[in-house]
């Protein structure tokens, strides 16, 4: 009996080690929920992996958390969308070789009935003023993500302190859960277009404001500074950055569509 158990344990250990072992080269990319939940990575990564044999492990977090993950050295590459925070990250020496990759735009999503009359304007700041004046709740990401920072910039531009407003709900969650909440509460929220397009549980929600230039949402990619974190896989990480900003990578991004609608627009300078 004891012998049987010993064999069983050895078998388990061998199986687990075999099962968990990873032969191929891999990098960790800390990125945002919008790129993961919109399905973009699922579409473009197989092409990169087939070309280079480098497996890309994506950890999807809010932009703030994704940058913190890079700061701690737990990622090789950071791929996010909050330009001021990215510039700070590079200026502090945590990241190097930041490049533009692509952009999409933010949209204000709200109930079809549009009680706050946001549909009547094309000015995003005016839209925010109307939401604050209306009776419907606003669901904020509240998670220091790129979308959250953009939203807070709009409140600032509108000279409104949202925290003083009882119907301002901070979800503290990713874009998807925030949309789920907005749908359930009949409220408004700011979303990136990619996540909105791939989001399925829309219920009564629709886009109520889009197209203002200030809703521009650029994504940048950078390598975690190997001088700060020597274990960073510099070569493999740079291969990824080079590819995603290359013509091939950019065309792959442009080719990703949901229901015929393009989600991200390439913007790398090459």
């Amino acid at each position: 009996m004891a012998n049987f158990f010993r064999q069983l344990i050895i078998f388990f250990c061998a199986m687990l080690l075999g099962g968990f072992a990873q032969a191929e080269e891999s990098i960790v990319v800390s990125s945002t929920t919008s790129t993961e939940q919109s399905g973009l990575f699922g579409y473009i990564l197989p092409r990169f992996e087939a070309k280079t044999g480098i497996k890309v492990k994506v950890v999807a977090l809010g932009t703030g958390q994704a940058l913190d993950t890079g700061r701690r050295g737990d990622a090789d590459v950071v791929f996010v969308h909050d330009r001021p925070a990215e510039d700070k990250f590079v200026a502090e020496g945590w990241g190097v070789d930041r490049r533009d990759v692509m952009y999409n735009d933010f949209v204000i999503v709200g109930p079809k009935a549009d009680a706050s009359k946001v549909k009547g304007t094309n000015d995003v700041v005016e839209g925010f003023r109307r939401m604050a004046a209306g009776s419907a709740p606003f669901v904020s990401r509240g998670d220091k993500s790129g979308t959250n920072s953009a939203e807070l910039r709009f409140w600032k531009d509108a000279n409104i302190d949202p925290k003083a407003w009882a119907d301002y709900k901070e979800a503290g969650a990713g874009m998807g859960p925030t949309l789920n909440m907005a749908a359930a509460m009949g409220g408004y929220t700011l979303s990136d277009r990619g996540t909105w397009l791939s989001f399925k549980n829309r219920q009564d929600l629709e886009i109520v404001l889009a197209g203002d230039k200030r809703l521009f949402n650029p994504y940048g990619v950078m390598l975690v500074n190997p001088a700060k974190h020597p274990h960073v896989k510099k070569e493999a990480g740079m291969k990824f950055i080079d590819w995603i900003t290359s013509r091939d990578g950019q065309e792959t991004i442009a080719a990703y569509k949901i229901n015929g609608e393009q989600l991200f627009f390439p913007s790398a300078k090459n």
Binding site: I9, F12, M15, L16, G19, F20, Q22, V28, T33, E36, Q37, F41, G42, K55, K57, V58, V59, A60, R72, G73, D74, A173, G174, M175, G176, P177, L179, N180, A183, S198, F199, K200, N201, R202, H229, H231
Partner: protein, 231 residues
């Protein structure tokens, strides 16, 4: 609600290879966790039940309290330990199935140990005088009691397996929910819910539930069979 449920069933009928891989990883992580936690938790729990030492009551209370250890807390602690900026950073274990097994082991050991302590202590009351008169050493007593309670202890191990399979907070943080690498059933369910794909998360939830039920059914029958055979 009904539509979501119906859609979930139709999704179940065409489980793709990706889902199978996710289920398989969940299973492997749970198996490794339970194996490790059993090897640590059973002897430890039995030792606390049998040995008399100062602070035994405190250890018992502590073990019982740790059964309710929030998994996110364990996740954050293990994350900080395994992070490149943490004490074990140079091992590069963060965002790997190994990290998930480590975090879950921390969660499951107290559960198995606490249940074991209770079960063994009850048996110990019956045998204590007998063992003492036979001059059993502590090691012998622990081994004999564990062997004697083996059928009841299956419950402790099953509880550990259940916790490991259903836990999401810790594996999400230390595993990172990386597709094809650290995505298990619970983190996949969390992701699909986040994407608003409720039918798919429900379908995955049903797979998880079925797996747990099968596991328990298997254990139940194994126990019946063994009791009949070895009486």
């Amino acid at each position: 609600m009904l539509n979501t449920l119906l859609e979930a069933f139709s999704l179940l009928s065409r489980l793709d290879s990706q889902v199978v891989a996710i289920v398989w990883l969940s299973f492997k992580v749970a198996l490794a966790t339970v194996t490790l936690a059993t090897l640590i938790g059973l002897p430890f729990g039995a030792l606390v039940a049998v040995a008399s030492f100062p602070g035994r009551g405190a250890v018992t209370v502590f073990l019982n309290a740790m059964m309710g250890l929030p998994s996110v807390v364990v996740g954050v602690i293990v994350y900080l330990i395994l992070s490149r900026s943490g004490p074990f950073g140079d091992m590069g274990l963060l965002y790997s199935p190994t990290a998930m097994v480590m975090a879950q082991t921390v969660l499951v050991v107290p559960l198995i140990a606490a249940l074991t302590r209770q079960i063994v202590e009850d048996a110990w009351r019956t045998y204590a005088t007998e063992f003492r008169s036979m001059h059993f050493s502590l090691r012998h007593s622990v081994a004999a009691l564990l062997y004697d309670c083996r059928y009841s202890l299956v419950v402790a191990v099953l509880a550990g397996a259940g916790r490991s399979l259903s836990e999401v907070g810790a594996v999400m943080i230390v595993g990172g929910n990386i597709e094809g690498y650290t995505r298990v059933m619970t983190t996949a369910i969390a992701l699909e819910t986040a994407k608003g794909d409720l039918p798919l998360s429900l379908a995955l939830g049903m797979v998880l539930l079925t797996l747990v039920l099968l596991l328990n059914t298997g254990a139940y029958h194994l126990r019946l069979w063994a009791m009949r055979k070895y009486g």
